[in-house]
């Protein structure tokens, strides 16, 4: 698991999902499995085989932290690194997300041309 290839991405907002997926695939060259809700993502998680999970925080129904908790309950994703994407990037909020087990947080709005590089940076910072 040394190379980041496949990303499980959950985002309820269709436009953002489309743009982000395009940026990650076109710029970063990742394989992106994008889902519109936490429930869909959890359902697909076991079979997805993702190296990294990218979660929007604010979503109707199952939000980011709940989705994270649910994914942690699935053996296949129990240890998969998670990055949150959110507009709420106050230091205290970042600290809170980290305390939930996230690697880091990517601020919205993101720069599509550099988001992939940022993800790689975070990914590579994880000691393994």
């Amino acid at each position: 698991m040394s190379e980041l290839k496949r990303i499980l991405y959950v985002e309820d907002e269709d436009d953002i999902r489309t743009v982000a997926q395009m940026a990650l695939e076109a710029v970063g060259g990742f394989e992106v499995l994008a889902y519109g809700s936490g429930r869909d993502a959890v359902a697909a998680a076991a079979a997805a085989g993702a190296d990294l999970i990218l979660l929007d925080v604010m979503m109707p129904g199952m939000d980011g932290p709940s989705t994270l908790a649910a994914l942690r309950a699935v053996p296949a994703t129990a240890a998969t690194p998670v990055i949150f994407m959110t507009a709420k990037v106050q230091a205290s909020e970042v600290a809170h997300y980290r305390s939930l087990g996230a690697l880091d947080v990517i601020a919205k709005p993101f720069d599509p041309m550099s988001i992939s590089a940022e993800i790689v940076r975070i990914w590579e910072a994880v000691p393994r």
């Binding site: 907002e13 436009d15 041309m113």
Partner: protein, 953 residues
Amino acid sequence: MARPLGARVRVAFAIGFAIVAIVGSVAYLAIESLVAHSGLAAGTYATAEVLQRVVLRFQVAESLQRKYLVTGTAADLDRYQDARTDVTEALRQALSLPHDSERGRRLDALGRAIGLRMASMERAAAARRDGGTDAAVAIVGSDANRLLAREIDGLVSELRRDDDRRLAASREIALDEARMSRITILLGTLLSLGLLAWAIVVIARYQADRLRVEAQLRESEERSRAITENMADGVLTTDEAGTIVEANAAAKQLFGYPGEELIGRELETLLPARHREGFRKTLEHLRERRGEIREPPREMRVLRKDGSSFYVNASFSDVRSGGKRLFSGLIRDVSDRIRMTRELKASEAQLRQVTDAVPALIAYVDSDVIVRFNNKAYEEFFGLDRERILGCKLEDVVGAEIFARLRPHVEQALAGFPVRYERSHTMPSGEQRYMEGHFFPRYGEGAEHARVMGFYSLVTDITALKRLDQMKSEFVSTVSHELRTPLTSIRGSLGLMAGGVAGALPEAARKLVDIAKSNCERLIRLINEILDTEKIESGKMHFDMKALELRVLLDQALAANEGFAAQHQVRLALASGADGGLVSVDADRLIQVITNLLSNAVKFSPAQSVVEVMLTRVAGRLRVAVRDHGPGIPQEFRGRLFQKFSQADSSDTRVKGGTGLGLNISRSIVERFAGSIGFESREGEGTTFFFELPELVVPDGAAAAPPSTKIHRLKVLICEDDPDIARLIAMLLDRAGIGSDVAHDAAMARGRLALNSYDAITVDLRLPGEDGISLIRSLRSQPSTHALPVLVLSAEAEEGRIHLNNESLSVAEWLQKPIDENHLVRGIRNAIEGNPEGRTLVLHVEDDPDIQRVVAAIAVDFAAFEFAGTLAEARAILAERRFDLVLLDLALPDGCGVDLLHEIRARGPRPRVVIFSATDVAVPGADAVLVKSVTSNEELLATIERVLEKAHP
């Protein structure tokens, strides 16, 4: 005058009576004597007459006997016989008269002689009758008879001589007596005349005196009358029946009766009809009362002649004049006063109505902290009647708990400073309300203009405002986030297009996409800054304070902005004057500030120019300056540069893409780091923006130094000319466990600094003689005070700061008056300790300032303390900053400390919480429980250290 006169008159009368008595008795005695002597004389005359009669009748009887002897007729004999009886009768009469023995003897002798002669004559007569003439002649012519006749003549002569002599003696005595009486009467008369003359003189004099006294009396009376007449107060005098007998000019004028119209009127006719009955009774009562009457003044309504009424203040007394009892009334027109009182009352009622209608708690509290005015809302809020508020101590009105929280504000207001405070209040229903209070000191007037007489208290319920504010915050936050969602897609799409992900774009399309993208970014920046501003204003901005190398942060910021600068064809250059130094900051926020200054400098720099960044050290502070070579800031705009949405030229906004919030946010952030921000600018040459931060000085081995139990009390020199303010500052510092001395001017401050060592100095800018700025300059020029932390504490702090933009005096903190206690204490601690955040930060929640002080003094060497007196205060401070430890009292004015503990624990295991309370109770969630009064200072310290070690293993 009257008494001596009376005495003299009495003496004169006594003497007069004595003289009259003497003269009278003398006269009486003289008359008595005259009468006695005239009786004697009369007696003498009577004796002489009887003797004469005896002699005559004897001669008659002798003659008639001789005739009978001649004639011898019976008729003559009868006659002789009758005459002889007459003689005997006369003789008997003579002997019956009073006489002395001598005369009696002579009269006896005469009687005897006459008896003998008569017997002889009888014999002769008998001889004639019996014989004849010769016998008779013989008898008659006898010698015996002649002898007898001679004896009788001799006796009669003797008796006559005796009588004459007696008469003469009697006359002599009478003459003597008459002379004596004359002299006596003359003397008496003279004395009487003298006395009379004296009496006349005395009486005349007395009369003169009386006239003079009367004149004086009259004059005095006229004077009194003139005074009475000219008095401003009316004077009415009535007789006992209440009829006016006298009225002065003022009374006439008051009642509107010209001339003498008042005289003879009944006094009661001057009263309104319904008061007359009462007046009659009063008069009756007064009449019956004996002794002096002095009725206290009373106010009453009275009538003028024209029927209009007015108010007077009248006092009655009785006077006696000419034996009559009169009632005198002194009457003063008080209509104006009554009217003013009524107007005042009306005005007060109006004020009350107005204040009652105001939905705020309004009160006036005097310098004895007694409530003197309050409105209805105030009563309703505290659920008290007005009687339980007015005139009562504020402490009793608001209750001890609230008063304990208000006390510092009350003290500040009474020291002459306006106070604004906020506090939460739990209603009996349990509802939490937020109150904003303002205390406005009221100064005295005239001579007391410098004395605080009390303060006005205006407390408004700002719960709704708070909610609105919260709603606004939430709204701003929500809107911003909602705006970000579409912006994320837009920016993403534009970014991908511009990045060529969607394929190469024609040149025209690419230009349009760039415009869209840059404006999208500007919109994102604006939204971010609006959110930042909102967070700063609502106190929700979180600062993750750490001790960091300023130089490192500077490098990061420069690196982050190089691209932006390059876009503007501007180069960024770091001219390092200092290699480093620690500051206590939130890294992201500080980079935000530097970025703001850099991007401003870049935006306003001409192409191909350099923006220079300098890091220097100035008197214990690190200074970062960013200099551009732009057009400079117009003079008229410099004053409001740090205000929100201000840009030098509004047209620049569009050109430069600024939001107008950057500098405002930067200033807030820098101030949050106990720093200051400023600028200097020359039009046409460029602008330098700079900020200064206190440099953290880490003593050698400080990290490893064992916590000391030695109590080091910080000491601050207060340079302040107003003794009240100096006292207030000293009081606030003392509450925070900081000692202080006061200097009233610059010279005194220098003197104290030469003698003592201080940890910091607070300076008022406006000092007598040498001003504060000059003092700070001189401190900076002296090696001994070069690094002394200086805090400016002034009503003109803001102006002073702007004024000093061109000059670095390394002022640690600019504090605006009125003084905010927390700002002051935090400012001083920051200035002295440099980095409270680098040290262990303890929040002590405790309502007893003494305990706060003691604990702070015990632990001051290894921890920085902040204080909260109430749960609300603690919540506010905890929301704002992160603490390593909370030392928590359980019994707090607004609730139980356990609630706060639960709130803290709900958020995580930190900060550590040590309960320090009066009761020993097990509190789940607390890291330790200490009991006040049984815990020694060492135990307290050891416990805090142990708990903190757990926190920082």
